[in-house]
Amino acid sequence: MSDAASFSDDSNTGTLRFSGSLSLARLGDLPERLAAYDGRAERLDLSGIERLDTIGAWTIHRFAQRTGATVEGLTPDGQYLFDQVRAADQPVRIRGEHVPAFTRVLGEVGEATIQAGRTLYGLLGFLGATVIAFGSIIRYRRFRFNATVQRFEVVGVSALGIIALMSFLIGIVIAQQGAVQLRQFGAEIYTINLVGRLSLRELGVLMTAIMVAGRSGSAFAAQIGTMKLTEEVDAMRTIGVSPMEALVVPRVLATTLMMPLLGFYSALIGIIGGGLLCWASLGIPWVTYVQQIREVVPISDVYVGLIKAPVFGAIIGIAGCFQGMQVEADAEQVGLRTTSAVVQGIFLVIVLDAFFAVFFSSIGWL
């Protein structure tokens, strides 16, 4: 292998003789030694070197510039390379401007606030655009039946298994926790009220909404985002297919219509889970359990759940599609937007759920 780069100096004549291989791999401490050199330097003799690459040439060029020395003894190829490197010595910005931490944090907070406002505004606009798309689908009878049914399957049918498992476990947990607390008052029988009402009114729909946001909202954002990146969405527009009608409406429709079904299903499974615990742990027979559920759960609880569910579904679908349509530029954005879709979907569902709770209690559906 070639020798490491090195140099010897002759202070009398001011000539520095370089030897070895002036290349990145063999450069060693040459840059430091040159930087520390403060003797006379008028001529840099490179006739003794074995190899020169651009980094070696750059190091020599920088030293020559600092000391004002002339470079000699290069082979024609070496000279050509040296000239190329010297020509590339131009002021270049490597880093962005440095901003003090305090200013930067303030700036980031401001930007995030503006961004949040814009997103909300955009989301409202997107809701409007979706409604308009619905309108034109109905007016021109351009309903995409197959695409929509396929979304039904992906959003609804494929989710049955995981939602059943989740609801069943949650039913058991509520019943178990309720039983422990209520036992202190000798009121274990009210565990049934707890499980029945909570499942139908709140948890069935809410947990399903979270599951759908995680499964389908994220998938919508990623699918549409990727289609934006690969210019599929643009291609659609150019051949006269509205992406709002072809991509967004089937998806929003699917979440809106599937949510009440899934939510009700989830509540039923939750009640079954609670019943299992009541039977196994509290000794309440199944027949009594079902009879009790029918007595204590008012029909309005079922309505509460079923009214909330499609609204949640629409919100999740719109948030997912909206974030997907916002993707621009690069693949990293797909990830960011997918995260936003889920976070936004779940956040809005919980906010709306609070509004619904106040609303339903004020109309007397306690």
């Binding site: 651009t54 390379l81 131009q90 002021p91 490597i94």
Partner: protein, 275 residues
């Protein structure tokens, strides 16, 4: 210097297949030190797959590949780092790291292999590489998403050249560039090859590039390299596909351009002498 040709890439009996579809079978290829070899072939003949097999990203079903005399097949991510120091690769879309700026992208390979290098020198290296590849001086702090297609390619080339490699792989470097940009890229490749004594493995569909800068051309067809040689040698072979490729309307146009270019550069000194 030994006149005997020094083989840098050595491929023998390469076989690649994806499921039922066989892409390469019994493919042989030698690439010599200091040459620019163009690799051509119809779409789907496995040009990129060949490159990926050579650099070890694709494990072939059979065959041997050596680069700088070392086998590249079946080497782990952390093995074979010596070879990886000595080559640079420009992927088709640039493959820049999207979370890093252009300058940081260029610095990645240097930092990876020479972590002890002085940060000031590192920044200087990044900046002259940026200039050498023809990027504007303010491109350093930009993110790949802010660059145009041509600039992405240049930035990708700057990263491929970061370590001053001996061997450079270019996957369709001029695809998607305007003719002026493409010609400038060819010039750049040629001048870098001259400056640094590079060996270049160039996958291209660009006939102008082939005529302008390639020393030899390898033709991929029927799952193997059917011929390697200068363009004149290839045309003399009388193979129908090669004939069509080089003598089709586009091939003829490229020849005309090249001849005009040659005549101009040959005539120029005399012209100035007469004045």
């Amino acid at each position: 210097m030994a006149k005997e040709k020094d083989v840098i890439i050595h491929v023998r009996g390469l076989k690649n297949s994806f499921g039922e579809q066989v892409v390469h079978e019994d493919l042989d290829l030698d690439v010599y030190r200091g040459e620019i070899i163009g690799v051509v072939g119809g779409s789907g003949t496995g040009k990129s797959v060949l490159m990926r097999s050579i650099i070890g990203l694709q494990t072939p079903d059979a065959g041997e590949v050596t680069v700088f005399g070392e086998p590249t097949i079946g080497r782990g991510e952390t093995e074979a780092t010596d070879i990886r120091k000595r080559w640079g690769i420009l992927f088709q879309g640039g493959a820049l790291f999207s979370t890093l700026t252009v300058a940081e992208n260029v610095e990645v390979p240097i930092k990876e292999f020479y972590p002890k290098l002085d940060p000031v020198l590192l920044d200087e290296i990044a900046s002259y590489k940026v200039v050498m590849t023809g990027l504007p001086p303010d491109a350093g702090p930009k993110y790949p998403a802010e660059l145009s297609g041509g600039m992405k390619k240049r930035a990708g080339l700057a990263r491929a050249l970061a370590l001053d490699p001996e061997l450079l792989f270019l996957d369709e470097p001029t695809a998607g560039l305007d003719p002026i940009g493409a010609a400038a890229f060819d010039e750049l490749t040629k001048s870098l090859q001259r400056t640094m004594g590079l060996t270049v493995f160039l996958i291209t569909h660009d006939l102008d590039s082939l005529y302008a800068i390639c020393d030899r051309v390898a033709v991929l067809a029927d799952r193997k390299v059917i011929a390697v040689g200068t363009i004149d040698e290839l045309i003399a072979l009388d193979h129908p596909w090669i004939e069509e490729y080089f003598k089709g309307p586009r091939g003829r146009a490229a020849i005309a351009t090249q001849e005009a270019h040659d005549a101009q550069s040959a005539g120029a000194p005399q012209g100035t002498g007469a004045d």
